[in-house]
Symmetry: C2
Subunit: 194 residues, 2 copies
């Protein structure tokens, strides 16, 4: 009873759910404790869940034809993560979800989420606004990719996500920025000079 409210509060912050609603939502959330290196989802599989990160760090990762890995998203405390393209469309995953730092997460299925959104309009609003924020971030990232050099993108990344920088390896950041680890290493050397 007490823990119910705790996790609902952590995830949904200041949304004023009724007691019944909170209990109902919580019954659809499953808590998972995972370790660094664990794979939550493999490319090619169906994506039926999204995950709320309570602690730790995960990433979604795309492996291209030539075997190179690309990081689409990092998720730390309070972020949600999934292969949303697949999650929303019921196509198969093109990405995998990998745990980068031991994590505590909560998963919810697409079915449960859709049903809850119909029952509790505030929840639909929550997920819509979350999606809007994520969309805006993706737009900024595309803009950065189109208009900035690798050095500028790195500077922007560590400025925007200082907490993520501390939780991931440089080669993760490189794969997020779209450069090789060698190039990132040279960029970092450059920046310490300034």
């Amino acid at each position: 009873m007490h823990t119910k409210n705790t996790i609902i509060l952590e995830i949904f912050k200041d949304i004023p759910f009724s007691e019944d609603e909170s209990i109902h939502i919580e019954s659809k959330l499953e808590k998972l404790t995972i370790k660094k290196g664990d794979i939550l989802l493999n490319a090619g599989k169906s994506v039926n869940h999204q995950y709320f990160v309570s602690d730790g760090c995960l990433r979604t990762c795309y492996t291209d034809n030539s075997g190179k890995e690309h990081t689409i998203q990092f998720a730390i405390k309070n972020w949600w993560i999934s292969d949303y393209t697949a999650f929303f469309s019921t196509t198969k995953a093109v990405m995998s979800i990998e745990c980068i730092q031991d994590a505590v997460i909560y998963k919810i299925s697409r079915e449960d989420m859709d049903a809850l959104c119909v029952e509790i309009p505030q929840l639909e609003t929550f997920f819509r606004k979350k999606m809007e924020g994520a969309f805006a971030n993706f737009q900024k990232r595309i803009l950065g990719g189109l208009s900035q050099s690798a050095k500028e993108r790195y500077a922007s990344f560590i400025n925007t996500y200082p907490n993520i920088e501390q939780s991931v390896k440089n080669y993760h950041i490189a794969s997020y920025l779209g450069v090789t680890t060698e190039t990132l290493s040279r960029i970092r050397k450059e920046l310490t000079k300034d």
Copy 2:
């Protein structure tokens, strides 16, 4: 009365609104007829509307520090367009919206949209799903930027959006793909060889 149902049908397809709902929604839509070259929105301004394209072609365009233009989104018939980062957050626009081909569009304000979403849950679901689709497309684009060559991105673009290719200039496409017009020209030459 007849026209009301026509435009609601065009925009919202098979959503079964009541007659009252249709009329109410339609009262919040404003029809605009615009010409090639018209600017719907300038960077730096507040973004209070999004636009449904009934006919014609528009783009959102970001001008970077060095004066280069980058195309974030094209919108043809049945697409929505805006600077969504600003639209959703009430920050100022970083992009402008430009009419590329004479167009007929319908605009709706953020306020009206939010209010309608509260009154008509189906509408909130509609906008949420629209956002999910747009999010997925952005994700694919980021993935392409990270993993594909300019040539691959161009091939993928004309394959995915054959209708857009016909409505826009090559330099628009170049600015969407993140290459110079010269590079795009060489790519096109290459591809006709194959």
